[in-house]
Symmetry: C2
Subunit: 316 residues, 2 copies
């Protein structure tokens, strides 16, 4: 029953890091790595490879920079077949920070880009591919992309870019299944030589559903996070995708353990999941930053006021 | 863009009542009725019409019995076009408790049944239809129904039953979109003269997605609950379906208000929503009763142990 080609990339530490300035301590990250390894997860994404000249290491934790020595410390002594991924943002990386693959514990570099920045993304991907890494592109904010520009972007990726995997990113958690189907089919029709992946957000409780929808239409790479940890409403839960995929190589039990031991206590420190302000930004196809700000204010349960502040800004 | 035929039935008080023995106080229920009325919701289901000879009114609140005088008190003085629904379980109702429609504030009676009890359900439905009520059948535990028995059940409903609406009930929250599609198409193919509805549970965060899937395949009745309140993981959230449906008659703002004022405080008293034990029973297509018991015990976060207790019971 299972489709062997489907690979799971767990980005708990990377996407979850957006909620705590990438300040997970080494013990916690090693527990996650151990659980993912025992569960048979294919990739673990640990953070961003940002330039330390652009961001302060006083303000941000180590997973904002993903130095090779920190990754080595994370994996040391843990038996694993799980590959390591890091994310790179256009205009925030110093390519000289990235050593040739044979000198690094990193296996995959994923470049996150908006449609408009695809030329820069292709340059970066090809640079990293030439250094020996597996590469992927994550097309962010896809719900806002104009169809003609997305077409051109996908055509360029097919022709000019060495990335093996192109991921559709529902940054605002605004996609319904029909649009997910449309986007995955569109990507498949243009990206003849590449694999398609899905990165979903859970603002409208549709992250898992949209991930299944992408799989139905032949996406073979899926991004997930343990217990759905991730920015704002979070992501497609790793535990649910393991229940859905029938591949016997996966084992849900180490994920259940690490949720019990690490993620239940973490809920007292970081807030993520289904909250009405995140649902509202999802429904309205807006970035969740206003909702995150609301949740940190003393008006965090004033939902009608928040809704009206967003729909009241009529644009012409 | 909207499909006018789609009707929303909010069963917050009925399904939510399964978590507190139907003990919502009158003030709370009136606030919900007011919000649903202002939001333009088509139906509100307030509880079960159970026989007071079978259940003790000391043990259960008034929404286990739904006496007409309680419903009259609930609606008094509130302007509303929202119709009132009550649910009846096979073998738990005294049909003589149900007055002719013209003497009752109830508009619709829905009979909940397993496939095996469909004959009893048809008898009840036809009795209530003859008394003048709108009627519906909710086919529970549909994920466990054998295909040939479901076919026969649907054929009987089409031929012998006066119910206008037949609802597919994913009691265990175990359906994925493909099976929802299969079941809705199957029901549509047999129930030529009836409307199809969907009642989803959220164990795997798929209640909203499965409801959308049912709508895509021409179900016109959807069950929802405010903030997803309902047994265990709860149901398809009313606020999300209002964001999805584009019918201008609906207004999400009264729902946002009542969540802020009533449901956020309620979360401190009743636990519902996405919890790992409910996800596990959903993945395994099991009734959530074991998970509910676990959540009430001192081992409520021992997920691996719980999972193994369920998968360890190998049946031959």
């Amino acid at each position: 029953m299972f489709r062997e080609k489907i690979k799971v990339l767990d980005c708990t530490i990377r996407d979850g890091g957006l909620m705590n300035n990438h300040n997970f301590d080494m013990r916690f990250v090693r527990e996650v790595y151990k659980a993912l390894s025992e569960a048979g997860i294919d990739y673990m994404e640990v953070g961003y490879k940002n330039s330390q000249r652009l961001f302060s290491s006083k303000e941000y934790g180590k997973w904002k920079f993903c130095n090779d020595q920190d990754i080595r410390e994370m994996i040391q002594g843990i038996e694993s077949a799980t590959k390591i991924s890091v994310m790179v943002d256009v205009d925030r990386v110093d390519v000289d920070d990235v050593l040739p693959k044979q000198d690094s514990p990193v296996d995959m570099i994923r470049v996150a880009t908006y449609v408009k920045d695809v030329d820069k993304a292709i340059y970066l991907v090809n640079h990293f591919a030439d250094k020996g890494y597996e590469t992927a592109v994550n097309i962010m904010a896809i719900s806002r992309a104009l169809d003609n520009e997305l077409t051109e972007c996908l055509q360029q990726l097919e022709k000019e870019c060495k990335a093996r995997i192109i991921n559709i990113v529902d940054s605002f958690g605004s996609l319904y299944q029909e649009t997910t189907e449309f986007l995955i089919k569109k990507a498949k029709s243009i990206l003849k030589t590449k694999e398609i992946g899905m990165h979903a957000h859970n603002n409208q409780q549709l992250a898992f559903a949209n991930t299944i929808e992408a799989i139905i239409h032949d996406a073979n790479y899926v991004d997930t996070t343990i217990f759905g940890l991730g920015r704002a409403a979070g992501n497609c839960p790793t535990e649910l995708i393991l229940g859905f995929l029938k591949n016997p190589k996966y084992d849900i039990r180490p994920i259940l353990d690490v949720i019990s031991k690490e993620f239940i206590p973490l809920q007292k420190k970081i807030e993520w999941g289904y909250f009405i302000p995140y649902a509202i930004t999802g429904i309205l196809d807006e970035h969740p930053r206003t909702a995150i700000a609301l949740r940190e204010s003393d008006r965090k349960e004033n939902y009608r006021e928040f809704y009206e502040s967003l729909v009241g800004e009529v644009e012409e």
